[in-house]
């Protein structure tokens, strides 16, 4: 049985190069930072209670690869997902991994939902 993501949980979307593809000139996340994967969801990690260093280490171990390192992350409260009537599939595989699911398939509505998440996320560049 999958775990539950609480509204107050912190959700992280790791950012890979090229930064300018995902972060705008004002240092905010672009909508394309929230792209849909082949399974129709948005891959995220639940990082509640983790230190910054632990978050980067976790991403290096479970998300990055030789060609796509982690240069930063977008983070937001899970409540923003629930406000859109979306859900989490918290499979914990790899650890702390979840997918944001139930995103509308209609391209314009899909774009609007991803735009909302990007607008409510903060960007933290890896130091």
């Amino acid at each position: 049985m999958n775990k539950v993501v609480a509204s107050e949980d912190e959700v992280t979307r790791f950012i890979r190069p090229k930064e300018k593809r995902y972060v705008n000139q004002s240092g905010k996340l672009k909508t394309q930072a929230f792209s849909i994967s082949e399974d129709g969801g948005i891959s995220v990690f639940i990082t509640t209670g983790m230190t910054e260093q632990k978050i980067w280490e976790h991403g290096d171990e479970h998300y990055a690869n030789d060609k796509n390192i982690i240069i930063g992350r977008g983070y937001f409260l899970a409540d923003n997902v629930y406000k859109l009537n979306l859900q989490f599939d918290y499979d914990d595989e790899p650890p702390r991994h979840a997918n944001i699911i139930s995103i509308p398939v209609d391209s314009d509505k899909n774009l609007s939902y991803r735009q909302y998440l990007a607008k409510h996320a903060k960007y933290q560049r890896r130091s």
Binding site: K20, R21, Y22, N24, Q25, S26, K28, K30, T31, Q32, S35, I36, S37, E38, K67, N68, K83, D106, S107, D108, K109, L111, S112, Q115, Y116, A118, K119
Partner: protein, 165 residues
């Protein structure tokens, strides 16, 4: 291999430069890809517009094969590339230009962002223009329109609102 020369130094390897004016770009781009022309040349009078066109060309050349990001991203089609060029061609020159990025689904995404608002436009080359605007929690708009010779009025209204926010 091809290169893009836009009123200045060579930007990419090869030998390809576009149109005498921005208005020629779409036709000459089509001619080039149709094999009717080996060269074209462009000199944009607007440096920001020139930079945007350079960005679009660079993105297309980088992303025109499947798996361009080595994470399963779809290729950007020639039709999407043509639409992106056309969009900038007909975009009102009195409005600030957006930022442009490729999408994993094989489209061009144009984005305007202000402190509180945002507009995104996606062009996949399927004949439509997809857009979404965010202004507040309870004030969002989105739509899909055929993309022919003009930017839909509803979309222009969103862009202007974002710029004014």
């Amino acid at each position: 291999m091809s290169s893009i020369c836009v009123n200045g130094p060579q930007l990419l390897p090869g030998d390809f430069s576009l149109g005498a004016t921005i208005g020629d770009i779409v036709k000459k781009t089509r001619d080039y890809f149709d094999g009717n022309s080996q060269t074209a040349s462009v000199t944009s009078q607007d440096s920001k517009q020139r930079d945007m066109l350079s960005e679009i060309f660079e993105i297309y050349h980088e992303c025109k094969e499947d798996n361009w990001d080595e994470e399963g991203a779809k290729a950007i089609s020639r039709a999407a590339f043509i639409d992106a060029i056309k969009f900038i061609e007909i975009y009102p020159n009195y409005l600030p230009l957006p930022e442009v990025v490729p999408t994993m689904s094989g489209a061009f995404d144009f984005e305007w962002d202000s402190e509180e608002a945002r507009c995104n436009v996606e062009l996949t080359g399927d004949g439509n223009i997809v857009y979404a605007g965010y202004f507040s929690e309870n004030d969002r708009d989105y739509g899909t329109k055929p993309f022919k010779r003009y930017i839909p009025e509803a979309l222009l209204d969103i862009i202007k609102r974002v710029i004014d926010e």
